[in-house]
């Protein structure tokens, strides 16, 4: 974007971009739309267009029309923060999923790989607590990120499912590393052995979000 661009026009472009963000245009498409619009505006300015002619339309209206033309019907977005009650419910739902994961998967897997795992209190409670905490935090993060749209049911559950699937895929590798290192309690080593699980969990979330975005473009924002 040229430095000499009219400040008001720059502000208008930023408002268009912000509207795309808040109405759920996926990040990749938003970046592309913004680049194409910037290039077109630059050319128009070089050709002598007056900034006021380019921004004659309301920024929000313009952004919505371009998003629809690009195949993204705008999703309604509320700027009102979620209530403490709904956040608590979200966190409890995530934590319950974490308890189930820890009870039925994490602990049995640990015992299967290392029958003496229970002898080390830190190891025995560390993984289950981590599972509960991670899922509760993930649920809150998704709730904050998507706001009311999260309650549409199309985002949180698939994302958590992707996270859990990633954790499950990474669990054997993490346990194998842990066993090879003789179940360390050093935080740096614990973090190291968790890398496969964290990586696959992130990948699981990304895949789930990609699938959601394909079926419901209005629910995908990142």
């Amino acid at each position: 974007m040229p430095d000499e661009m009219d400040a008001e026009l720059q502000d208008w472009l930023n408002r268009v971009d912000e509207r795309w963000r808040t109405t759920g245009v996926p990040t990749y498409d938003r970046g592309r739309l913004r680049r194409e619009l910037d290039r077109d505006i630059e050319e128009a300015l070089r050709a002598g267009a007056a900034p006021r002619d380019l921004m004659a339309t309301d920024a929000d209206e313009f952004a919505d029309q371009v998003a629809v033309a690009h195949g993204h019907p705008p999703a309604e977005h509320s700027d009102e923060p979620a209530s403490a009650g709904s956040m608590a419910v979200t966190a409890i739902a995530g934590a319950l999923a974490g308890v189930l994961l820890a009870w039925f998967v994490v602990w049995p897997a640990m015992v299967a790989v290392a029958p003496t795992a229970g002898d080390n209190v830190l190891v025995a409670i560390g993984y289950p607590i981590a599972a509960v905490t991670v899922l509760a935090c993930a649920a809150i993060a998704l709730r904050v990120r998507f706001g009311p749209r999260a309650s549409a049911g199309g985002v949180i559950l698939p994302s958590l499912a992707g996270l859990v699937a990633g954790c499950l895929l990474g669990l054997p590798a993490t346990l194998a590393i842990s066993r090879a290192l003789d179940y360390p309690t050093n935080p740096a080593l614990v973090l190291f052995e968790a890398i496969p699980m964290i990586g696959l969990a992130i990948l699981g979330i990304r895949v789930a979000r990609w699938l959601v975005a394909r079926r419901h473009p209005e629910l995908a924002t990142t």
Binding site: D40, A49, E61, F62, Q65
Partner: protein, 124 residues
């Protein structure tokens, strides 16, 4: 059923069905940026169109693969990002313009026939 009495609304309705054809026609003549398209259309009498109307339309045509934005080498100057018709755009232009001519002839024939009937009624 679409019925619009207000002239501005009627103009908008007619634009909705024909403006994409006009944009393709302008771009078949010359590679331009969206504001250039607005200017060319204004030269042809479409003085009520703005950048805010044409740019979303161009975006739609780009999504449909009929128009693409690419950097054209300027003569000694910086590369220009302009819109050009793709082969699909050229094909659509031919198809849509044929449709428009047929539609226009039908409407014109109907109006002429109606005008004759009206004149006969008054004469009688």
């Amino acid at each position: 059923m679409v019925v619009a009495d207000d002239s501005t609304e009627r103009t908008t309705l007619m634009h909705r069905g024909t403006l994409d054809l006009c944009v393709l026609a302008v771009l078949s003549d010359e590679s331009l940026h969206a504001y250039g398209v607005v200017q060319r259309l204004a030269e042809h009498g479409f003085t009520d169109l703005s950048y805010g109307t044409v740019y979303p339309l161009v975006t739609r045509l780009r999504r449909l693969g009929m128009v693409e934005q690419h950097a054209a080498r300027g003569q000694g100057g910086p590369a220009r990002n302009v819109l050009t018709l793709t082969p699909r755009g050229h094909a659509a232009l031919r198809r849509w313009s044929d449709q428009w001519r047929v539609h226009h002839q039908r409407v014109a024939a109907l109006l002429d026939a109606t005008a004759e009937l009206t004149e006969e009624h008054h004469a009688g």
